[in-house]
């Protein structure tokens, strides 16, 4: 049985804006799920409804099989880590972490033990008597985490918890949060707009757009099998190219753009011959033709417009025959790879495996 079940959740805001539109999903116990979407897509509102800070206009929330839709926040066995950490400024770290237990009347000695355990979990025992004002951003984050896990919630909600941290610290905290999740075995729901964060941390990602779930799956599934150009573009980078559908041949979709034929193995449904379609191709799946030896691959060409050195890769911005812009990422495995990379203005032959070309209907449907 799922620990958390969301059924047809809908939330309207003043002015007729539908923030969350008929959303349903379930969470297995111990899962790490990310709600991923651009800002204003309704993901935070979903989280706030699960926590109990907003009440849905329609739909139900079941926690451990019990309907908690109308329960106030303090009656729900979920805890939240707020974006701004929301530490009580008039209490020190120990008082912050033990706050809920203290008011629930838990014996002092037990509170002390559990606060220590909780602080040990986030590696912050040495700051037990510091006030929030004396802590750095990363340390405040840890206090907020320790405080949220001390009551052993059924579900831990994390509202963009890492967005206020700088890049290095954020990456370190991503890994640490993942480890914490493994240690605790609690179900985590993370809300973020950072797709990299979502891919790194989650067991499952739910992509949200304009109050609806667009696609849900493991990070690899979303990356490899996007069901819409939106997901293909939002998760990682994709080249989206308008093309024409020609027909089916040997289990391949045959498409055409700029006078070239491109064969694609993937594409969920069949298309009208002569109809407009969208091709999605990931930059790192395209190779320079001279390096590709498979004859079954698609070959096409483009002119280098700009080269962007990114350390681990070299990104080439190209213009294809019909003027479409296209990017490819070249791996830099030896110093020669960079030196021998094509210069701006040269025309390069490109190759891509049909298995790495995805066909979408031009209206965005798969």
């Amino acid at each position: 049985m799922n620990i958390l079940e969301i059924e047809h959740l809908t939330k309207m805001f003043a002015g007729g804006v539908t923030a969350v539109n008929d959303v349903s999903f379930g969470l297995a116990e111990g899962e790490f799920v990310t709600l991923l979407g651009p800002s204003g897509c309704g993901k935070t509102t979903m989280l706030r409804m699960i926590a109990g800070f907003e009440s849905p206009d329609r739909g139900r929330i079941l926690l451990g099989g019990r309907d908690v839709t109308d329960d106030p926040p303090h009656r729900r066995q979920v805890n939240t880590v707020f974006q701004d950490y929301a530490l009580f400024p008039h209490m020190n770290v120990t008082q912050n972490v033990g706050y809920g237990l203290r008011i629930a009347g838990v014996p002092r000695s037990e509170i002390a033990t559990r606060v220590r355990e909780s602080l040990a979990m986030v590696d912050l025992l040495d700051k037990a008597t510091a006030t929030p004002a004396q802590l750095s951003g990363g340390q405040r984050q840890r206090v907020a985490l320790a405080r949220a896990i001390i009551r052993q919630p059924k579900v831990l909600l994390l509202d963009e918890p890492l967005s206020a941290l700088d890049v290095k610290l954020r990456e370190a905290m991503q890994v640490e949060l993942k480890h914490l999740h493994q240690k605790l075995g609690i179900t985590f729901i993370l809300v973020t707009h950072d797709q990299k964060e979502a891919l790194v941390m989650s067991d499952r990602v739910i992509v949200v757009d304009r109050g609806r779930i667009v696609q849900s799956g493991t990070p690899a599934e979303l990356y490899e099998h996007p069901e819409s150009p939106y997901v293909a573009d939002f998760i990682g980078t994709s080249n989206l190219i308008r093309a024409t559908f020609v027909g089916n041949e040997d289990g391949h979709h045959v498409t055409a753009f700029g006078g070239k034929q491109i064969r694609a193995k993937r594409g969920i449904r069949s298309f009208e011959p002569g109809g407009g379609i969208l091709l999605a191709i990931r930059p790192e799946k395209v190779l320079l033709a001279k390096l590709a030896n498979a004859t079954t691959w698609n070959h096409f060409s483009g002119t280098v417009v700009e080269t962007l050195f990114q350390g681990n890769i070299l990104r080439l911005k190209l213009a294809l025959g019909g003027g479409e812009s296209f990017v490819i990422d070249l791996p830099l495995q030896s110093p020669r790879d960079r030196i021998e990379a094509p210069d701006v203005g040269t025309e390069v032959e490109l190759a891509v495996d049909p298995a790495n070309v995805i066909v979408f209907a031009s209206d965005g449907r798969p």
Binding site: H74, V78, F82, H90, R151
Partner: protein, 289 residues
């Protein structure tokens, strides 16, 4: 001219009007008053001297010490009454009124009386509480009283009522500001941690609004402490406050040295209150960021 020198001149140019103002209208008068408080009164003239007779009279003559104590008592009651009334109002405005324009409107409704003549506001209560007043007329009309009573006006109750009414905006404003500044996520996280609304109020909201309470209390106390119009209008014989005594010493009683001594004591009391509240405020100042 060097930049540093020019900067210094600019500073002086900006600061000198307020400095001159403070010097002329605050420091000089208080110095004169302070000097007078050590003078002697002989007949109708004041003899320069350095003696503490005026201060002694103030402490030993019950006529004056009683008024001083009464003033302290009334100022405290006014501040408490204002706090009890203002806090729920400020809380309601800050947390319960969700519609921003309604909040602004209600807030303005609290502030607007400050723009009405002070005398008029004090006088209003005279027309309400007087024997010919609104309250009496209503009670007689409804049959609760057979004839108008004099109990409402010219006593300490009337004074506390009037002063509370007049100074309550000074309590509402700082408390509202303090409550407004509390991040809503702190209230939410308290609920999230399993704490119900009433505990949340006493453990989070109230402690974090203490600076506002202190500021409001200080304002109200000091303003009520130095008031002399409300006592004159609604106070009656038992409602004389220390400021009325000062007024009469500089007027009909014609005893500037004693008036000066009382003024200096009042100033000392007010400054003490301000510094105490400032110390508390400093101790409790928190980083809400």
């Amino acid at each position: 001219m060097r930049l540093a020198t020019r900067r210094r001149f600019a500073w002086l140019a900006v600061l000198s009007p307020p400095l001159i103002w403070t010097l002329l209208f605050m420091i000089v008068p208080y110095t004169i008053m302070f000097a007078y408080s050590f003078f002697r009164k002989e007949g109708f003239s004041f003899i320069p001297d350095l003696q503490f007779g005026n201060y002694a009279a103030l402490l030993l003559d019950p006529q004056y010490s009683q008024v001083l104590l009464r003033t302290l008592k009334i100022a405290t009651m006014v501040s408490l009454a204002a706090l009890i009334l203002a806090y729920p109002l400020a809380y309601f405005l800050a947390f319960k009124v969700r519609w921003a324009r309604l909040r602004l409107f209600l807030y303005m409704a609290v502030i607007v009386p400050l723009w009405v003549s002070y005398l008029l506001r004090a006088y209003t209560w005279k027309t309400i509480l007087g024997s010919e007043g609104v309250l009496n007329s209503f009670l007689v009309w409804s049959g609760i009283l057979s004839e108008p009573t004099h109990l409402f006006l010219y006593n300490q109750f009337a004074m506390v009522l009037t002063l509370t009414y007049i100074f309550i905006p000074f309590m509402v404003m700082p408390i509202y500001t303090a409550l407004e500044k509390i991040p809503r996520s702190l209230i939410e996280v308290s609920g999230d941690l399993g704490v119900g609304p009433s505990h949340t109020f006493f453990r989070v909201t109230l402690p974090l609004s203490v600076p506002g309470i202190l500021a409001g209390f200080t304002f109200t106390f000091c303003l009520a402490f130095g008031d002399f119009i409300a006592p004159a209008l609604v106070g009656g014989p038992t409602g004389t406050m220390v400021a009325n005594v000062v007024q009469s010493q500089f007027g009909v009683s014609f005893n500037w040295p004693l008036g000066g001594a009382i003024s200096i004591v009042m100033l000392a009391i007010v400054l003490t209150i301000i510094s105490i509240s400032d110390r508390f405020e400093r101790a409790g100042r928190l980083d809400l960021g």
